[in-house]
């Protein structure tokens, strides 16, 4: 059911995208600020690491979504995450947030971090 809702939101976002002009690239720097100011970090962590407690374990550092789908999800989701209308979080801010998330470096393989190999 949950994955269905997610797919529906993503499908809706693609429909939106096809009817609108291509979204201009955002600013990772502005996006980082928006990610904090709009409280995204409260559930997703400052680098999109997520939490089993607040984002059901979903991570954002690598969304694997086109920006249209990303914006569509934020607008249309109504599950654990509440939807954000444009009044609350503008397309421009979301575009910057997307750019910030895309700019995050891929985390190291845990096998390369000594403390994560210390049973």
């Amino acid at each position: 059911m949950r994955s269905f809702a997610f797919r529906a939101a993503v499908a809706a976002s693609f429909a939106l995208a096809s009817a609108s002009a291509a979204v201009a690239p955002g600013s990772p720097e502005k996006g980082k600020t928006a990610f904090i100011v709009h409280g995204c970090f409260q559930c997703h962590g400052t680098v999109g690491q997520g939490s089993v407690a607040t984002s059901r374990g979903k991570v954002l550092y690598d969304t694997q979504l086109p920006i249209e789908a990303f914006i569509g999800f934020v607008r249309g989701t109504n599950r654990a995450m509440p939807p954000y209308s444009e009044k609350i979080l503008s397309d421009a801010d979301l575009t910057d947030i997307y750019a910030y998330l895309e700019s995050l470096p891929k985390p190291a393989d845990y096998k390369m971090i000594p403390l994560l190999n210390n049973p």
Partner: protein, 666 residues
């Protein structure tokens, strides 16, 4: 022990009463304040030798002040001639082998206090000075979850009990026995006016009756003896719960007379825990054995170390995955059958052991405002999934407070203690497994082993995300601590849920004391005092105590830090300092979104009223001021390891240490 005696309640008229003692104290106290007040009081104060009643027009403020701070001029005759009633109360308490008494002092139990430290020698129980009754009860709460034995506290029956209520509610919800004594002064005609009267009530226990298992207000010393032993026995019979006993000041300060009835202390014999009905056990075993994908879910199932062993035995017999909801340390996370909650979706039979919320175990509620604001409800399990419940709470629940959660229909229900039922269930399962099922059951185990290893690798990779982030990731914090405790006999005495449960996901937890669960009632202010109580129990067992402490919880009763230092309770507290009431941050954000309004932040990083910043609290200085070794705030994750290393050495030397780290929200 036995004494031939009678309370002076019956012979009060003929004796020099404690009221005249108070009168004497009033004069003496007033004398210490200066000639003018002495003269003024002397004109109205009665002659102690005449032992008259206090007039209703007595000056309450002077009398009360004197009674509170004055030095007795002379002991009442009864105290010279016979044993104090509160001495007998101490004998009763000692018979129950209660080791400690976390307590904030108060005049309504001054006689009992005096007897405990003088007559009782401050042993069994030892008085531990607390700065708040909430902390005292929560210390009892945490202590029990390590020691398996209850502590008692004594509080002012009115204002002290009011302070203590939230902690008692937590203990109630967490199924933990705490013995709460409350001082009161029942005799409205003779008790001192002013504060002692304000601090009395007809029925002090009424405010906790909805979340205590039993309470009483003894009217004689023998009544006290029976009620204390009865209360202890009720509290210690599953479901464990707190109990409350009112102790009348008159009774405490009475003198045991050499006449009348013989006082005796009933012997405490533990009641056997309630085990499941044999027919229901066989029916449950049949369902489990014939299931293709049985799943065991445990919340407060392992009351003792034996509970974990039994649960492992049952799980291995069925090769059934076990979901540990964490109310207690039920199942080792190193075991291949330990699984995440998602496995419940695959089940055809779910065995729930002492679940707080069976409904939410098999259903999902989405707080999204749909359905007239009630939110969305979905099942987590497939149609036809059979549900079995073993839960002692069904034997004793109350109607007002809603800790019993939503109603869930089950196919087999046992109002019984899960741990006490496991032996018979194991035998029934063993007897019911046909030979032709054994291979299929073994294959289930192989699948679980693979899933367990994959989950471990997935968690480690998730922990790597944000590894170098500032604020510090909670996963990084946990793994910076781990090398310094893993070779010790460690015990996590705080709650991990606010840290994305990283300890349970990353650390090796293989014995019952590796963690002690959460508060039960989710009343904030549990963790820091409960951790101190649990660390006290661990101290006596030679274990190392670690407390992962949230900042919001710490600020409820920070005075417990002083109690830990004062009584040499070694523990390492690492602050998960996210500078906010994070749960509430998300709630206010959710409501703002639902109403299409921008959440007002003010100058904070979250909706106004949900953050603990501007100014930021310096927890290291707070702890240092109360006698702790401390360090921080640490913002660079690379600084954590070396600091923890120093702190561990401090704790190993017998002192408490606190390291403040500024962290991600969860």
């Amino acid at each position: 022990m036995a004494r031939k005696s009678r309370s002076d309640r019956q012979t009060r008229e003929a004796d020099v009463s404690r009221r005249s003692f108070l009168s004497g104290a009033a004069v003496a106290g007033a004398a210490a304040t200066g000639a003018t007040s002495t003269t003024a009081l002397a004109a109205t104060a009665p002659d102690p030798a005449a032992a008259p009643r206090l007039p209703s027009a007595a000056r309450p403020s002077a009398m009360v002040a004197a009674a509170e701070v004055g030095t007795p001029r002379a002991l009442p005759a009864g105290a010279k001639d016979g044993a104090a009633g509160s001495d007998f109360m101490v004998d009763v308490i000692k018979s129950l082998d209660i080791k400690y008494l976390p307590c904030n002092p108060a005049s309504s139990f001054r006689a009992l206090h005096e007897s405990l430290i003088n007559y009782g020698g401050n042993k069994q129980p030892e008085f531990l000075t607390c700065t708040h009754e909430e902390a005292a009860v929560a210390m009892c709460h945490g202590y029990f979850k390590i020691a398996g034995k209850p502590l008692m506290t004594v509080v002012h029956g009115t204002v002290g009990l009011q302070h203590a209520t939230m902690a008692i509610y937590n203990a109630w919800c967490d199924r933990v026995p705490v013995i709460v004594l409350g001082g009161t002064d029942l005799d409205a005609a003779h008790r001192p006016p002013g504060v002692p009267t304000i601090h009395s009530a007809v029925d002090i226990n009424s405010i906790v009756r909805d979340f205590t298992k039993w309470d009483d207000q003894p009217t004689s010393l023998e009544h006290f003896a029976q009620s204390m032993v009865r209360a202890y026995r009720f509290a210690m019979t599953p479901p464990y719960e707190p109990v409350a006993i009112a102790v009348d000041a008159e009774l405490q300060e009475s003198t045991i007379r050499e006449e009348g009835e013989t006082l005796y202390i009933p012997r405490y014999i533990a009641s056997a825990p309630p085990a499941g009905d044999p027919n229901a056990v066989r029916e449950a075993a049949k369902l489990l054995v014939n299931a293709e994908r049985p799943v065991i879910v445990a919340d407060r199932a392992a009351r003792t170390p034996d509970g974990m062993k039994r649960l492992v035995e049952l799980a291995e017999l069925l090769q059934a995955p076990v979901v540990d909801q964490g109310g207690r340390m039920n199942f080792p996370n190193t075991h291949h059958l330990r699984r995440a909650a998602a496995v419940i979706a695959q089940a055809d039979v779910v065995l729930g052991l002492e679940l707080t919320d069976f409904w939410a175990t098999v259903n999902l509620h989405v707080d999204n405002g749909e359905y007239d604001g009630h939110g969305l409800n979905e099942t987590r399990v497939k149609p036809g999934t059979k549900l079995i419940s073993i839960n002692s709470v069904e034997l004793h629940t109350k109607s007002n407070y809603q800790d019993f959660q939503r109603f869930q229909v089950v196919d087999v229900g046992m109002a019984a203690d899960a741990e006490a039922t496991l032996p018979s269930l194991i035998e029934a399962v063993r007897a019911a497994i046909p030979n032709d099922r054994k291979d299929a059951i073994a294959k289930r185990g192989e699948a679980s082993r693979k899933a367990h290893e994959e989950a471990r690798a997935r968690n480690l990779q998730l922990a790597a995300i944000g590894w170098d982030a500032t604020p510090i990731s909670t996963a990084r914090l946990c793994m910076e601590i781990w090398p310094h405790i893993k070779d010790l006999d460690w015990s996590m005495v705080g709650s991990e849920r606010q840290m994305s449960s990283w300890p349970s996901r990353l650390w090796k937890m293989d014995t019952h004391y590796r963690h002690i669960g959460g508060p039960g009632g989710y009343g904030v202010g549990y963790s820091s005092p409960a951790a101190v109580g649990a660390a006290l129990a661990n101290r006596d067992l030679g274990r190392f105590s670690l407390n992962l402490q949230t900042d919001g919880d710490m600020m409820y009763v920070p005075g417990v830090l002083w109690t830990a230092a004062r009584h040499k309770i070694p523990m390492l507290t690492v602050m998960h300092n996210n500078r906010g009431y994070h749960q509430e941050t998300m709630h206010v954000q959710r409501m703002s979104n639902r109403r299409n309004r921008v959440a007002y932040l003010g100058k904070d990083l979250g909706p106004l009223g949900t953050r603990i910043e501007n100014p930021d609290i310096d927890y290291a200085t707070l702890a240092k001021s109360m006698g702790w070794w401390s360090a921080g705030p640490i913002t660079d994750p690379n600084d954590i390891g070396p600091t923890i290393k120093k702190a561990v050495e401090v704790v190993k030397a017998g002192e408490p240490a606190l390291v403040d780290t500024v962290t991600q929200p969860r």
